[in-house]
Amino acid sequence: MELELNLEDRKAILKEISRDGNQITIAVDDEIFIVDLVKVGPAEYSILYKGRSYNIEVVPGREPKHYTVNTFYFTHDIEVVDAETRYIRSRDNATGGHASNIIRSPMPGKIVRILVAVGDTVEVGQTLVIVSAMKMESEFKAAKAGKVSEIPVSEGDTVDGNQVLLVIEPAEEA
C-alpha cells in the first residue's frame, strides 16, 4: 500500500514494505523506518523506534481522511490524499472554490452580535461577528474585502467549533 499524506506544508509518500505483528517496516519518502507499533487505546499508539518509546495519538479530524496527530509536544494536521481527494481538489480548482472567504468559529460559543447583513459590502479588517465563550468576547473580522453572501447563523445562536458563521463573495480583482 502506498499513499500520499500531507502534514501541513509537507507532502510525503508512505509505503508499507512489510508487517509482522507489531513490527512494521515503512518507507517515508526515501527513508526506511522499522518500528514496533501497537494500538493501546481508542486513539493511542505506542511506538518503539530505535529503542525509544513514543506515545502518539491519532484523532479523526472533522473531515474524512483528516487526522489530528498529537506527538509529545506537537499537534499535526495530517490529510490522506487518495484518488477521491485528488478528484475533488481538481474540480474545486477548476470552479475556483475560495475557502478563505468563509468565516468559521474556531471554538464553540454564542453569537452575541452580527454587525453586517447579507448583501453588505465589507472592508478588510471590518468586524463582522462577535462570539462569546467562557466569559470572553471575540471579534471576527473580514480578511478580504467583498460582499456578504450568506449568514447561516443568528444572534443568540449557540455555535459549534468550525461552524460557518458568514460567507463573503470576494470583490472583483482590480
Binding site: L37, H76, M134
Partner: protein
C-alpha cells in the same frame, strides 16, 4: 459562642471548586447538595455530590447567581449551611445577609465584613487606621479633577487610577506622563460607571516592578486570628494569575513575620471571620503595601494547604460551626515548597482564546508530591458559559528546585485531548530562566513572551512517526472495511452484532 454542628452543606458553585469542597465534606461525614444549571447536568459536581438540584438556565445570572432559587433549594434539601466557593456569590454581601435571615449558615464572612472590604476606599481607610502600610495615595474617592491633579502632584508620577468598586482591571489606568492625567482620569471614571454603575475612583502611587504577594488568614468567632504565610502570585496574564507558589522566592523570614503580623491586624480591623486573603504589592526592595482583601477561599489555596498541612475548607466549616481554631500561630510552619499551575481550556497560540469542547481523552498526573484538582472527565463537554479553567495542578517538593522539576514531570504526564489547553505554555514558564531565578515580578509574562511563545520545532523523526501513525490508522480502517464488505463476510449478513462490533472498532 454557640456551636452548631453542620450536617448538610449546599455548594453554590460548580467546576473544580465544587468538587474540591464536596471532598472535604465527605471526609467530615457532612452530606452535600449540588446545584446545577441546564449546561451542567452532566458536570462532575452533580455526579459526585450526595444530592443535586436544578436551579435554572445556563447563564450564571439565571442560575448560579440566583439567590432566591439557591435558598429555596437549600431549604427544600434541608441544608443547614451554604458554601459559596470562589466567584459567583462568594463575595456578595447581600447573599451572606439573606442566608443569615433564612437561618442558614453562610460559610464565609458576615455581610458587614464583605461590604467593608469590597469597597476599596473603605478598605484602604480601615487599613490606615489599623496601621497597616498602604500604597501612598488618596484615602477618599476623588470627586473633582482639581483634587485629582493636586493629589497626583503630591504623590508624584507614575500613579495608578483605580475604580473604587473595581476588580479585574476594569476602570484602571496607569499614568506616567503629566499630559495624560486628565484623559486617563476621565477614561477610568467612565469605564467604572459602565462596569460597576459607580464612577468613584481613587489614586495610588504606581509601584514599578511590583510583586503580588498575598497572605492567607483564618479567623474564628472567638477572636483568634492566624496567618498561614504567603503566596507569590506574580505570574499573571491580563491581571489573571497563572502560576502561584509558596514560599515566595523573594521573601525573607523577618519581612514574612512583619507582613504576617500586618495581615492578622488587617483581618482583625475588618472584624473578619473565616478564611480570607490579604493581598500586598511588594517592590524589589521588599517595601510592601496593602492592596486589598479577598473575603473568600482563593483559587490558589491548595499550595498553602500543602506547605502548612491544613485543609482550609475543613477549617472554614469548623469556624462556621462556631469552633475555635485548633492551632495557634506558633503551631504553624512552612514545610517545603509548593507550586500551582492553572490549566485552562484555551489556545495559547491564538491569543489565549478560550477553547471549550468535548474531552476525548484525559490522563491526569499522579505520584509523589502531585495533587490535581479538576472536574472534567472523558466524554465531558466543557460548557461555553463559564470559566475556562479545567483544573489546578499542585506539586510539592522539599526545595523550590525539586518542586519545579516535579511540576515539569507532572505537566509532561498530563494529557488532555479534544480541547486545546495551556499545558505547553505552563511547561515553558517552568523552563524560563527568569522564573527559575525566582526574582520575577508581575511583568514576567510580558517580559518573557518571546521565550514563552517560541515555536519549538518538532524533530524530523517525530514528524515522520506522526505520519506513520496516521498511515497505519488509515490503512487499518481501510482493510477492516474491505474485509467486512467482501462477499465472504456478507454471507453472515444477518449477524448485525458482529458487524456493528467491527465497525465500532474502526470508528474508534
Amino acid at each position: 459562642m454557640e456551636r452548631k454542628p453542620i450536617k448538610k452543606v449546599l455548594i453554590a458553585n460548580r467546576g473544580e471548586i465544587a468538587v474540591r469542597i464536596i471532598r472535604s465534606c465527605r471526609e467530615m461525614g457532612i452530606h452535600t447538595v449540588a446545584v446545577f444549571s441546564d449546561a451542567d447536568r452532566t458536570s462532575m459536581h452533580v455526579r459526585y455530590a450526595g444530592e443535586a438540584f436544578h436551579i435554572g438556565p445556563s447563564p450564571s445570572n439565571e442560575s448560579y447567581l440566583n439567590m432566591d432559587k439557591i435558598l429555596e433549594v437549600a431549604k427544600k434539601a434541608g441544608a443547614d449551611a451554604i458554601h459559596p466557593g470562589y466567584g459567583f456569590l462568594s463575595e456578595n454581601a447581600e447573599f451572606s445577609r439573606r442566608c443569615q435571615q433564612e437561618g442558614i449558615i453562610f460559610i464565609g464572612p458576615s455581610p458587614e465584613a464583605i461590604l467593608g472590604m469590597g469597597d476599596k476606599i473603605t478598605a484602604r481607610r480601615t487599613m490606615i487606621n489599623a496601621g497597616v502600610p498602604v500604597v501612598p495615595g488618596t484615602t477618599d474617592a476623588v470627586t473633582s479633577e482639581d483634587e485629582a491633579l493636586e493629589t497626583i502632584r503630591q504623590i508624584g508620577l507614575p500613579v495608578m487610577i483605580k475604580a473604587s468598586a473595581g476588580g479585574g482591571g476594569k476602570g484602571m489606568r496607569l499614568v506616567k506622563e503629566e499630559a495624560h492625567i486628565l484623559s486617563s482620569l476621565r477614561g477610568a471614571r467612565s469605564e467604572a460607571k459602565t462596569a460597576f454603575g459607580n464612577d468613584a475612583v481613587y489614586i495610588e502611587k504606581y509601584i514599578d516592578s511590583p510583586h503580588h504577594i498575598e497572605f492567607q488568614i483564618l479567623a474564628d468567632s472567638q477572636g483568634n486570628t492566624v496567618h498561614l504565610f504567603e503566596r507569590e502570585c506574580s505570574v499573571q496574564r491580563r491581571h489573571q494569575k497563572v502560576v502561584e507558589e509558596t514560599p515566595s522566592p523573594i521573601m525573607t523570614p523577618s519581612v514574612r513575620a512583619e507582613m504576617g503580623a500586618y495581615a492578622v491586624a488587617a483581618a482583625k480591623a475588618a472584624n473578619y471571620e473565616g478564611a480570607g486573603t490579604i493581598e500586598f504589592i511588594v517592590d524589589d526592595k521588599l517595601n510592601y503595601y496593602f492592596l486589598e482583601m479577598n473575603t473568600r477561599l482563593q483559587v490558589e489555596h491548595p499550595i498553602t494547604e500543602r506547605v502548612v498541612g491544613v485543609d482550609l475548607v475543613k477549617e472554614q466549616i469548623r469556624i462556621a460551626e462556631g469552633n475555635p481554631l485548633p492551632f495557634s500561630q506558633e503551631d504553624l510552619r512552612q514545610n517545603g515548597h509548593a507550586i500551582e499551575c492553572r490549566i485552562y481550556a484555551e489556545d495559547t497560540d491564538n491569543n489565549f482564546m478560550p477553547n471549550p469542547g468535548t474531552i476525548t481523552h484525559i490522563t491526569e498526573p499522579l505520584g509523589l508530591g502531585v495533587r490535581c484538582d479538576g472536574y472534567v472527565y472523558e466524554g465531558y463537554t466543557i460548557p461555553i458559559y463559564y470559566d475556562p479553567m479545567i483544573s489546578k495542578l499542585i506539586v510539592w517538593g522539599k526545595t523550590r528546585e525539586e518542586a519545579i522539576e516535579r511540576m515539569r514531570r507532572a505537566l509532561f504526564e498530563y494529557k488532555i485531548s479534544g480541547v486545546k489547553t495551556s499545558i505547553k505554555f505552563l511547561e515553558r514558564i517552568m523552563d524560563a530562566p527568569d522564573f527559575r531565578k525566582g526574582g520575577y515580578n508581575t511583568h514576567f509574562i510580558e517580559d518573557n513572551l518571546s521565550f514563552l511563545m517560541a515555536e519549538t520545532e518538532c524533530a524530523y523523526e517525530c514528524e515522520n512517526l506522526a505520519l506513520i501513525a496516521a498511515f497505519v490508522e488509515y490503512t487499518t480502517q481501510l482493510r477492516e472495511i474491505e474485509q467486512t464488505m467482501s462477499p465472504a463476510s456478507s454471507r453472515h449478513g444477518s449477524d448485525w452484532k458482529e458487524f456493528g462490533r467491527r465497525l465500532a472498532a474502526w470508528r474508534l
